[in-house]
Symmetry: C2
Subunit: 383 residues, 2 copies
């Protein structure tokens, strides 16, 4: 039996000053149970993707803490893979139903980032980078800026070729009621935003956000039949060297390439079958890499093609990218991101996306990255 996604809920993403990590977890879990009219009695296990609870608030063992909130005794697993924690939790949750250990599982990703000073966030996020990178004072904007400089120089591009990604994703985020930023920006604004790490300006960077998102995955025909459902056609994870120092190339993420190759192989569909994708645009340059490394575009092409806004919904192209607003505009509560990406595909494939609905969507791809590409998760779903 193929596993199916049968429900989704996301909280608002943003600076949610009055909500704790577990407030968000509770809201999202109750939300998805309500959306699907499913009770805890139908759920066999919970998977929880979270990156920073330990570092930012000395908060581990979150499986048992979730058990505590709801009075549960089922297995609850916390999975951590930096910013790919959500995607990895989804992957293992999906295997859990495929192995037959459970028939129906809930997977939730959540992160609470805005309760601490920004320097702690910067430092905490660097836990995902290598020892050398931490010790040399690098930051993630710095690491992605390094990759961006090599890419722009090699292919003769400039900052405008990055800004187009930000403009597009803000246009998409404007239509998403749970997005962190619902504000359209111009290319001029993007280009003039204050420099974070040359060539990346503030509007090239995804924000620090709070939020939680949940999915229910099932192989139980009775539960599936009566609910909006999509098939999980493939979920694949790959790793790569964590340190940029160890890489042969700074203009590609090998982990993305490997995970995508496996996912297309397993799902037996072609790249051209995918009409909607959520890709990991933690920085604008990352969406360029994603489009190339996932095999939609050839290496070097993305800088040009993004400026043509081919993947903007208004252009009705064959592939629309980041209808949620992406990490850029929808926000990036790191543990939640991988789940929200798949959730966005689910609502689009089941025609529940309201104002941002894309027509005739049969297959969707989600792409979640940890760190500067040390981990990548590629998930393909279809109706």
């Amino acid at each position: 039996m193929k596993s199916h996604i049968i429900g989704y809920h996301t909280t608002q993403f943003g600076e949610l000053w009055d909500k704790s990590l577990f407030d968000l977890v509770e809201e999202s879990i109750l939300g998805v149970l309500k959306n699907t009219n499913i009770e805890f009695g139908d759920i066999d296990a919970i998977f929880f993707g979270n990156m920073l609870g330990g570092i930012l608030e000395n908060n581990l063992h979150s499986g048992a803490k979730i058990a505590d909130i709801f009075g549960l005794t089922m297995p609850i697993f916390r999975v951590e893979g930096a910013c790919a924690s959500g995607g990895m939790a989804f992957h293992l949750a999906n295997e859990y139903v495929k192995s037959g250990k459970g028939k129906t599982v809930l997977v939730i990703g959540a992160e609470k980032m805005t309760d601490v000073q920004p320097e702690y966030i910067t430092q905490g996020l660097m836990s995902a980078a290598s020892g050398e990178e931490q010790e040399s004072g690098m930051t993630f904007p710095g690491l992605y800026a390094l990759m961006a400089r090599v890419y722009l120089k090699k292919f003769g591009y400039n900052k405008s070729n990055l800004a187009a990604v930000a403009v597009k994703n803000h246009m998409h985020g404007f239509l998403n009621p749970t997005a962190h930023f619902r504000k359209i920006i111009t290319e001029k604004q993007a280009l003039e935003s204050s420099l974070v790490a040359d060539p990346l300006g503030l509007l090239d960077c995804s924000p620090v956000s709070d939020g939680a998102a949940s999915l229910i995955i099932s192989t139980n025909p009775t539960l599936i039949k009566k609910r909006h459902h999509v098939k999980v056609l493939s979920s694949q994870v790959a790793t790569d060297s964590i340190s940029l120092l160890q890489r042969n190339s700074l203009i590609e993420l090998k982990a993305t390439q490997i995970a995508a190759e496996k996912a297309f192989g397993e799902s037996k569909i072609k790249r051209s079958d995918i009409s909607i994708a959520e890709v990991h645009d933690c920085f604008t340059i990352a969406e360029l890499f994603a489009m190339e490394d996932l095999g939609f575009w050839t290496k070097g092409e993305a800088g040009r093609r993004v400026t043509q806004y081919e993947t903007l919904r208004d252009n009705n192209g064959p592939l629309i990218v980041n209808t949620s607003g992406g990490l850029k505009a929808s926000g990036h509560p790191v543990g939640a991101t991988g789940i929200k990406q798949i959730g966005e595909l689910y609502v689009q494939l089941t025609n529940q996306a309201d104002k941002r609905q894309i027509k005739n969507v049969k297959y969707g791809l989600a792409h979640n990255v940890g760190g500067s590409g040390g981990t990548a998760v590629v998930t393909i779903i279809g109706i």
Copy 2:
């Protein structure tokens, strides 16, 4: 196809000043590959159980860091469930081969605890407890001492009924070359050891240790056939309220009871079939609870039975407990503990336990607990 364990390696457990977390990881992974004559090419994924890397050394995304060490691109998952991180990683690794996603996986647990001041360890470990418990200044010795006081009072026992566990496990640890403590202690020494949290003295407490342990699990008949192998008959996880405040009873761990019930049900063997068990004796009182909650002894009986040393190897009883020395003498590098427990059963069942070998062992049970019982993992293996 049942999953089989086909290899094991553990590093020395102890205060390993000259080794980092990833030195230990590397040593143990290379060790198990060498022991089994298996190469990375045969391994489909790695699961990594680790609790404190983020809090103690700002070290997350360890899947990709392991990929970096060996130049790997396979999926590597970090799983965290406090002191049950190892057992939970084993559980998910076992599901991964059962789902058919992989045929052979490596599961490693590791922890590096002795590089920081003890107060950071105490605080870091409390990340596994509830918010109220953290805020009220509780520590894990304090939480287990509370439970011990209720138990001793209710059943008319005293500190001697705890000390017997320490004496037994140190006798076992004496025979285990990789144990943290290889020193026999007397009941008098245990009773006179300095008080940590009344009624628990220093010798009632497991130590803070460094170490790493690895297992290989496979469903590949070719790999299994030529190697020492045992079957995984069941692996079950349960959760409970994390906070003692929320519990109906302070003299039992409900998560252990539920996981054990399910594990015996799934494996279809009886408690009396188990001739060797590794149970989670983070404090002496915890071994009493374990023996009762796993269903070997009835509630209230353990205080008396431990003083008869029924489960000491020298007494050749039907059930020998903690031949590794347990957490008490073998040491407790938290992420590694759950793997070492199953590894100890594996070496005993395959007659590789040298001086501490127990004769005619067919079935073994491992029991790994997170926090003060918020999570429990019970694993049953057999030849």
